[in-house]
C-alpha cells in the first residue's frame, strides 16, 4: 500500500510538471528548462520551511511564485527566438540553475538540502493541484486568454496582425508555466525530505516533454494521461525500470509514425462524448 501511494504521489507531481511544460507549449514555446523551474520551487519552498519555519501551503506557494517570477525574466529573451534556439536557451537556463544550486552553501551545495519537513498528505496535495489544473485548463479552452494561446501557438504572425499582443500572451504563458513547475517542485521537496541539484537535471525536462508528446498535444488531457501512464508503467513492470528512457524513446518513434497527435487527441474526446451520451441516452429511455 505504501508503495502504491508513493508511486501515485510521484505520478501526481509528474502530471503537474507535464502541465507546466504544456502551458507555454500551447503558445509555441518549447522549454527544456522545466526541471530548472521545478528546482527553484523545490529549493524556494524548502528554504521557507527549514530556515523560516513557514507552514507547508504558503511555503509551496512562495516557491512557485519565485519560479514564476524567474520564468517571467527567462521569458523575455525567449520572445525573440524560436524552435531549436529556444530549446538551447531553456536548456542553458536549466543547467545554470542546477550549477548555481551546486555552489550555494546556504542550501547545502552539492551535498544536498536535508531535513525538509515531511508532508504526510503529499498524495492529497499533489492531486489537489492536479484537480486545480484540470479546472484551470478546461476553463482556459473557453476563455479569451485560452483562445489567444491557441491562436499564437498555431500562427503567431497572423494572431498579431488581427490584434493579439503576442508579447504579453507568450510571457504570461511562460511565467505561469514556471509557476506551475515551482509548485510541483515544492510538493516534491516536502515529499522527499531531501533534495539535491542532481535530481533536477535536464533529463527530467526531457521526460516532461516525452509525457506530453506521448499523451497528446491537442488537448490538455493528453499530457495528463501521458505523465500518469508513463510514470505508472515502469513502476509496475520492474523489469523495464532500468530501460525506461530506451522504452520512452522507442514509444515516441512508434507514436510519431502511427499517431503523431499523441494518444489522446481531439477525436478521442469527441468519441468519448458520443459514447457516454449514447449510454446515458439509453439509460434514460
Amino acid at each position: 500500500m505504501d508503495y502504491l501511494i508513493s508511486v501515485a504521489t510521484i505520478a501526481g507531481i509528474y502530471i503537474i510538471m507535464a502541465m507546466s511544460f504544456y502551458l507555454p507549449f500551447m503558445t509555441g514555446q518549447i522549454s527544456l528548462g522545466q526541471a530548472g523551474f521545478m528546482a527553484i520551487g523545490a529549493y524556494g519552498s524548502a528554504v521557507c520551511s527549514v530556515k523560516f519555519g513557514i507552514p507547508y501551503v504558503p511555503a509551496i506557494l512562495i516557491g512557485g511564485s519565485v519560479a514564476g517570477i524567474v520564468g517571467f525574466f527567462v521569458g523575455i529573451p525567449a520572445l525573440r527566438i524560436k524552435g531549436i534556439y529556444l530549446l538551447l536557451l531553456t536548456l542553458g537556463f536549466g543547467e545554470i540553475i542546477r550549477v548555481v544550486f551546486i555552489n550555494v552553501e546556504y542550501i547545502g551545495a552539492a551535498a544536498g538540502f536535508p531535513g525538509i519537513p515531511y508532508q504526510d498528505h503529499s498524495l492529497l496535495y499533489s492531486y489537489i493541484m492536479v484537480f486545480i489544473l484540470i479546472i484551470f485548463f478546461s476553463r482556459l479552452r473557453k476563455s479569451r486568454m485560452g483562445r489567444a494561446f491557441h491562436a499564437v501557438g498555431s500562427d503567431e504572425d497572423a494572431a498579431e496582425v488581427i490584434g493579439v499582443n503576442i508579447t504579453s500572451v507568450k510571457l504570461i504563458a511562460f511565467s505561469t508555466g514556471g509557476f506551475i513547475a515551482g509548485i510541483g517542485g515544492g510538493i516534491f521537496a516536502h515529499y522527499q525530505e531531501y533534495i539535491e541539484p542532481l535530481m533536477f537535471d535536464v533529463m527530467h525536462s526531457v521526460e516532461f516533454i516525452v509525457f506530453t508528446i506521448f499523451g497528446g498535444i491537442q488537448i490538455f488531457w493528453g499530457p495528463m494521461f501521458g505523465a500518469f501512464v508513463l510514470t505508472m508503467i515502469p513502476e509496475f513492470l520492474r523489469v523495464i525500470q532500468e530501460w525506461r528512457m530506451e522504452l520512452f524513446g522507442a514509444l515516441l518513434i512508434i507514436m510519431m509514425i502511427l499517431r503523431p497527435q499523441g494518444v489522446i487527441g481531439l477525436d478521442t474526446i469527441q468519441g468519448l462524448k458520443k459514447v457516454s451520451s449514447r449510454i446515458l441516452g439509453r439509460g434514460l429511455s
Binding site: I135, F136, R139, L140, K142, S143, R144, M145, G146, R147, A148, H150, A151, S154, D155, D157, A158, A159, E160, V161, I162, G163, V164, N165, I166, T167, I172, T176, Q218, L266
Partner: protein, 253 residues
C-alpha cells in the same frame, strides 16, 4: 482621408519591393490595388498592418502616424485584414476563430478567467460570443459555427477570415485577394458581401486579380507595377490607360 500613405519605400536586402508609393484611402470607399504578380501589392498590405517595417516614408491612419506601432496596436486602432493564403487557426472552431477577432478590445486575464470572481468577465465572454455569432450570420456561416475551421471548404474559410476581421469592428479593412480560389457563384456572393460591408461605412482596401470584380465594385483603383505606382483613378480611366494595358499585356509592336 482615413489612410494616408506618403512616399513609402520598402527594400529587402537592396531589392526595391516598393518605391515612392503615395496612396490615400477615403472614408467609406472601396479602393482596389491591382497589378501583375510581384508588383508589391501584398508588401504594401504588410507595411500597413505592420508585418514589415518600412524603409522610408510615413503611414497615417485617422491622422495618427502608425508606422512605428506594433501590429496588434494597429488592429486596435481599427485596421482589420485578411490574408492571401487563408490563415485561420485550424484546430479551433469557426466561432472561436471569429471570437479571437475581438481580443484586443476585451480584457479578461488569465487569473480572472480561472477564478471567475466577477460578473464582468462572464458578461464580456457572452458579449464576445454574441458579437462573433452576429458576424458569422453576416457572412452567412452561422450554421457552421461549431465546426473545426480547417474542415470548411476553401471559399468558406475565406469568409470566416472576413468575419474575424469584422469582429473587431474596424474602420478600414484590408482584403488580400478574397476571391482567389472561388468559383463564379462564390465570387458573386463575395461581391455582394463586400458592397454590404462598404454600405456599413467601412473603408475597404482590396487586392484582387479578378478584374470583373474589381471594375464593378471599386470606387478608386491604384495600379502598381515593379514596386511603383503607375496609375490611379476610376475604373474607366484605368481600363483605357496605355501604361496599365502595357503592364498587363505587354508593349504594342
Amino acid at each position: 482621408m482615413i489612410l494616408n500613405i506618403r512616399n513609402v519605400a520598402k527594400q529587402f536586402n537592396g531589392f526595391h519591393a516598393l518605391s515612392n508609393i503615395g496612396v490615400d484611402v477615403a472614408e467609406g470607399k472601396i479602393h482596389a490595388i491591382i497589378g501583375p504578380n510581384g508588383a508589391g501589392k501584398t508588401t504594401l498590405f504588410n507595411l500597413i498592418s505592420g508585418v514589415y517595417d518600412l524603409t522610408e516614408g510615413e503611414i497615417r491612419f485617422k491622422d495618427v502616424v502608425i508606422n512605428q506601432l506594433k501590429p496588434h496596436l494597429r488592429a486596435k486602432l481599427g485596421i482589420g485584414r485578411t490574408f492571401q493564403i487563408v490563415r485561420l487557426f485550424g484546430l479551433m472552431s469557426v466561432l472561436e476563430n471569429v471570437m479571437i477577432g475581438t481580443h484586443c478590445k476585451t480584457r479578461a486575464g488569465l487569473l480572472k478567467t480561472f477564478l471567475r470572481f466577477s460578473r464582468k468577465e462572464l458578461t464580456e465572454e457572452k458579449a464576445t460570443r454574441e458579437n462573433a455569432t452576429r458576424w458569422l450570420e453576416f457572412v452567412g456561416l452561422a450554421h457552421k459555427a461549431d465546426q473545426t475551421a480547417s474542415n470548411l471548404p476553401h471559399a468558406e474559410q475565406r469568409l470566416v477570415e472576413i468575419a474575424r476581421a469584422l469582429a473587431l469592428d474596424p474602420e478600414l479593412i484590408l482584403l488580400d485577394e478574397p476571391a482567389a480560389g472561388m468559383n463564379l457563384n462564390e465570387t458573386l456572393k463575395l461581391d455582394a458581401l463586400i458592397s454590404k460591408i462598404n454600405q456599413m461605412g467601412k473603408a475597404i482596401l482590396l487586392i484582387e486579380h479578378n478584374m470583373e470584380l474589381v471594375m464593378e465594385i471599386s470606387h478608386v483603383i491604384t495600379v502598381l507595377n515593379f514596386g511603383m505606382k503607375i496609375a490611379e483613378g476610376v475604373s474607366s480611366e484605368i481600363q483605357n490607360n496605355p501604361k496599365v494595358i502595357e503592364a498587363y499585356l505587354g508593349r504594342k509592336k
